[in-house]
């Protein structure tokens, strides 16, 4: 019997993996991907709740999240491209002009 708890654990684990990816990796592209991972984990949570609560609101929110994620990826990758063109590197540590 698969309970809500199972799904919640799973999505929590996925979310944590995503956070680790954002913290650990220096490649900008990979960071963006970890971000996507986190968003997916959240989507999973929403759908799980929709299922166990019997309301479709969860699924609708997921739709919106996907829209936002898509938009964010588009813009984020555009920024990554620009940064690469300017600095020749995709290393996030080198994008530090705003330091003190």
């Amino acid at each position: 019997m698969v309970t809500l708890q199972h799904y919640l654990f799973l999505s929590a684990a996925l979310f944590t993996l995503g956070v680790i990816g954002v913290m650990f990796r220096r490649n900008l592209i990979v960071i963006l991907m970890s971000l996507e991972l986190m968003l997916n984990a959240v989507n999973l949570t929403f759908i799980a709740f929709a299922r166990y609560l019997g309301s479709v609101e969860g699924q609708i929110i997921v739709l919106f999240v996907m829209v936002v994620a898509a938009a964010e990826v588009a813009v984020g990758l555009a920024i990554a491209v620009t940064v690469f063109r300017q600095r020749g590197s995709i290393n996030v540590d080198e994008v530090n002009l705003m330091r003190w």
Binding site: L10, L14, L37
Partner: protein
């Protein structure tokens, strides 16, 4: 049956996610990401969200990941080797924090019993009404306004992406 499927799909998804985070070459990361997406789509279907699952496959796995691939190919990033990370120690703090988050939240899940719900999922009529119709029923009535606003959001994103990624003549930054 459901349990078995859940565990299979769950394992696949988790393993792929692990690979996404820890593998070195970006191409590998992207490919494993696609597998993760498919896994999650499977889980969606398990959760009676067929429409969303399809949207996931089409949009995420089909478009977003392909976009990632394009960018990697375009900028020839696969060959890039990053210098030694001078601040690795700091990152461990982040890892600890993330795991800590997980640990913190876990106990709640145990005691969690979902309550409430609007019954709009119409699981009892699963045979007669498709998930698509169920979603549409809510989306175009109660949530019509957010729906329209997201189209504006997408417009803004498109314009932003186009402007940002344009190849500039010389080095002068425009407006």
């Amino acid at each position: 049956m459901e349990t078995v499927l859940f565990y299979i799909l769950g394992t696949i998804t988790l393993a792929s996610a692990f690979c996404v985070v820890f593998l070195q070459r970006p191409i590998h990361n992207v490919l494993f990401m696609i597998i993760t997406m498919i896994g999650i789509a499977g889980l969606f279907i398990l959760l009676h969200a067929e429409f969303i699952a399809m949207v996931q496959l089409i949009v995420y796995a089909g478009a977003v990941m392909v976009l990632f691939l394009f960018v990697i190919m375009l900028l020839n990033l696969d060959q890039l080797r990053l210098s030694h990370d001078s601040r690795a120690a700091r990152r461990w703090v982040g890892v600890v924090a993330a795991v800590g988050l997980l640990v913190l939240v876990a106990p709640i899940f145990r005691a969690f019993t979902p309550r409430g719900g609007t019954g709009t999922l119409m699981l009892d009529k699963a045979g007669q009404i498709s998930n698509t119709e169920v979603v549409a029923r809510e989306l175009f009535t109660t949530y019509l306004l957010p729906f329209e606003i997201t189209s504006v959001l997408l417009l803004a994103a498109i314009i932003g992406a186009v402007i940002l990624a344009r190849k500039r003549s010389g080095k002068t930054a425009k407006g």
